[in-house]
């Protein structure tokens, strides 16, 4: 069955050298940086669709995630069936990245993009009614979900409830890029700003939360 999934990502700030380099100098620098990446070049999908599949494999211990155990042989495209769920999930990671640093940060809007893309869910593993679902969606302990991933090494995608969205709407972990359309359907700019344990959200959409808090994660 065809579905639409949503994903938020951090776009490359192409203005980072605008005050310093000419256009041809900037083009040279970008080409050198891109050349130095370990890219697996997974095909002709839009860059923001295929980039999660470009990370080096096997998955390094530092970069394990809910359904990506250390040493796993696959990458994953994390997404959600609704835009608000995608925002709740990425706002959580936005906050965790900043809280891991001892630095004091200013209140500043940081640009993000949200896009949608068609997804073929016909052979997805649906864990939303699984008796073990509470353990699989634990907010901090990923051992059960990583164990599940190891036990199901060939599943193309997984539907599961979000641990960050208060309404527990559906997250989608996609291992097989072939289940995603090659072109995105929509692409919008949003922005996050951190203050304490909260992330404020700026957007033209009326279905997104304007602020997200994770006080228990502080």
């Amino acid at each position: 069955m065809p579905e639409i999934v949503w994903r938020v990502y951090t776009p490359t700030n192409l203005q980072y050298a605008a005050d310093t380099l000419s256009a041809d100098e900037f083009d040279f620098l970008e080409s050198e940086i891109n050349r130095s990446k370990t890219s697996r070049s997974v095909g002709t999908w839009d860059m923001w669709i295929k980039s999660p599949f470009d990370f080096p494999l096997p998955v390094a211990a530092n970069y394990s995630a809910r359904f990506l155990p250390s040493g796993f042989h696959r990458n994953a495209f994390y997404s959600a069936l609704s835009p608000p769920t995608s925002v709740f999930e990425t706002a959580y990671h936005h906050l965790q990245m900043r809280k891991a640093s001892r630095a004091e940060f200013s209140f500043r809007w940081e640009e993000r993009r949200i896009f949608s893309v068609g997804f073929d869910a016909h052979d997805a593993a649906d864990l939303r009614q699984d008796p073990e679902v509470r353990r699989l969606m634990d907010g901090k302990d990923y051992s059960a979900s990583q164990h599940w991933a190891r036990d199901h090494p060939d599943v193309p995608s997984i539907l599961y409830p979000s641990a960050r969205d208060p309404q527990e709407r559906t997250c989608v972990c996609i291992y097989e890029i072939s289940r995603l359309d090659k072109k995105s359907l929509s692409h919008e700019t949003i922005a996050y700003a951190m203050q304490g344990d909260s992330i404020f959200v700026r957007s033209d959409r009326d279905d997104l939360p304007w602020s997200v808090s994770f006080p228990e994660e502080a």
């Binding site: 994903r7 938020v8 990502y9 951090t10 776009p11 490359t12 700030n13 203005q15 980072y16 050298a17 005050d19 310093t20 380099l21 000419s22 256009a23 041809d24 100098e25 083009d27 040279f28 620098l29 080409s31 050198e32 940086i33 130095s36 990446k37 980039s51 999660p52 990370f55 080096p56 390094a60 530092n62 970069y63 995630a65 495209f77 994390y78 997404s79 959600a80 769920t85 995608s86 999930e89 990425t90 990671h93 990245m97 891991a100 640093s101 001892r102 630095a103 004091e104 940060f105 200013s106 500043r108 809007w109 940081e110 640009e111 979000s162 997250c171």
Partner: protein
């Protein structure tokens, strides 16, 4: 394959471009201290001092030797920071502060520790930027 826009740049043009962006990074992340920049690049401070005098980063871009690769990794780190943090002061604060996701060390000290530390910081920022749902 070389892209059209920069294919006519000479070696010296490329060295000048690298120096310009490297000096911006030095100003933003290292408080303008050439010695700290040299320490993170694992290049002799007198060499970096010469680059500042000449306005050129005198490495051959066509050979892409080890020193050259280290510079490109540092510039990739800076590009990621510029994408993640809109405020340059936040980039510097993150770069110079201890970090629980990075063994409790600051990114700057990881860069100083060697090429493994440099790659760790670059990969971490790539990972953070790609984290999604």
């Amino acid at each position: 394959m070389e892209q059209a826009l920069h294919k006519n740049l000479s070696v010296e043009d490329k060295q000048r471009a690298l120096f310009k962006i490297l000096s911006k990074v030095c100003h933003e992340l290292f408080d303008g201290t050439q010695k700290r920049l040299a320490s993170c690049l694992h290049i002799d401070a007198s060499t970096v001092s010469r680059w500042y005098k000449d306005g050129l980063c005198k490495l051959n871009p066509d050979n892409r030797g080890n020193d050259y690769q280290v510079i490109i990794h540092l510039l990739a780190i800076y590009r990621s920071l510029a994408s993640i943090f809109a405020n340059p002061a936040d980039r510097k604060a993150w770069f110079q502060s201890a970090n629980l996701h990075l063994r409790g060390e600051s990114p700057e000290s990881l860069l100083e520790s060697g090429i493994d530390g440099l790659l760790l910081v670059r990969q971490y920022l790539d990972f953070v930027r790609g984290q999604g749902a």
